[in-house]
């Protein structure tokens, strides 16, 4: 997932808001902190990435 973010030119926005700034707001971080499973499609803002392939 990280590789996709990095190569799709979208990493900067997510990184600025959820990694380097207020990382405690990151939903993925929160899951790890609570010892819970991190769904592969969970975005840092708590929404789920649509993993349904488009025809």
């Amino acid at each position: 997932m990280y590789a996709i973010f990095q190569h799709s030119g979208t990493l900067g926005a997510w990184k600025a808001l959820y990694c380097t700034a207020t990382y405690t707001n990151c939903a993925r971080y929160d899951k790890v902190r609570l010892g819970q499973s991190v769904p592969p499609n969970l975005l840092p803002n708590g929404k789920l990435l649509n993993l349904t392939p488009t025809p």
């Binding site: 996709i4 190569h7 030119g9 979208t10 926005a13 499973s37 991190v38 392939p53």
Partner: protein, 196 residues
């Protein structure tokens, strides 16, 4: 028991990550494999492969980014081709790898003619400091294992991932991590000499 000459050990240590990279298209990471197994046991198949191609995932990520931040957040690289995603390794792959490590160690020491079951470490200094009692040995080694595991998780990698693969790729984090655990190991070794 005869130890391998340094140049044979060095070549073996260098070739194993290379073979792993060529064969599986990913860096050798022993603790990463252990973590994958533990996560599977703890969380089931929640981290399973999403089953999409790199292009499909990149498109979905771009759409989600635009939805969250607006079109300006998607830079010029947005049309760059998506990377080829390495296929997730199966649990069987991890188990076989970890078992092969144990078997490989056994075969190595057996071939060198030095295998024997014993309840303490081979180095005489260990017995001199901690004695030869099995429960003390188990306690010390178990405690050491917990500390190593804690440090590995904290550093996001072990001696293989950082020391072998990260350092050879000049990764800054790996250089720092390797300097720290080698430095700490050296200090503890020197400290133990004073306890003899």
């Amino acid at each position: 028991m005869e130890h391998w000459p340094w140049y044979v050990s060095g070549l073996a240590l260098a070739s194993i990550p290379l073979i792993h990279w060529v064969g599986l298209s990913r860096s050798l990471a022993v603790s990463g494999r252990v973590t994958a197994l533990v996560n599977r046991v703890r969380h089931g198949r929640a981290d399973a492969d999403p089953g999409m191609t790199g292009d499909e995932l990149a498109r979905a990520v771009r759409e989600a980014t635009i939805a969250a931040f607006g079109p300006a957040a998607v830079g010029l690289q947005s049309e760059a081709p998506a990377p080829t995603l390495a296929k997730r390794l199966s649990m069987l792959n991890h188990v076989v790898f970890l078992l092969a490590m144990a078997v490989g160690g056994f075969v190595s020491v057996w071939a060198a003619g030095g295998w024997s079951a014993q309840m303490t470490l081979r180095a005489p200094i260990f017995s001199e400091i901690f004695g030869g009692q099995a429960w003390v040995t188990a306690l010390v080694l178990g405690g050491g294992g917990i500390l190593v595991g804690f440090g590995t998780r904290m550093a996001a990698g072990c001696t293989t991932g950082h020391g072998l693969c990260g350092v050879s790729r000049f990764q800054k984090g790996s250089l720092v991590a390797t300097a720290m655990f080698f430095g700490a190991g050296t200090l503890v070794s020197v400290g133990l000499e004073f306890l003899r």
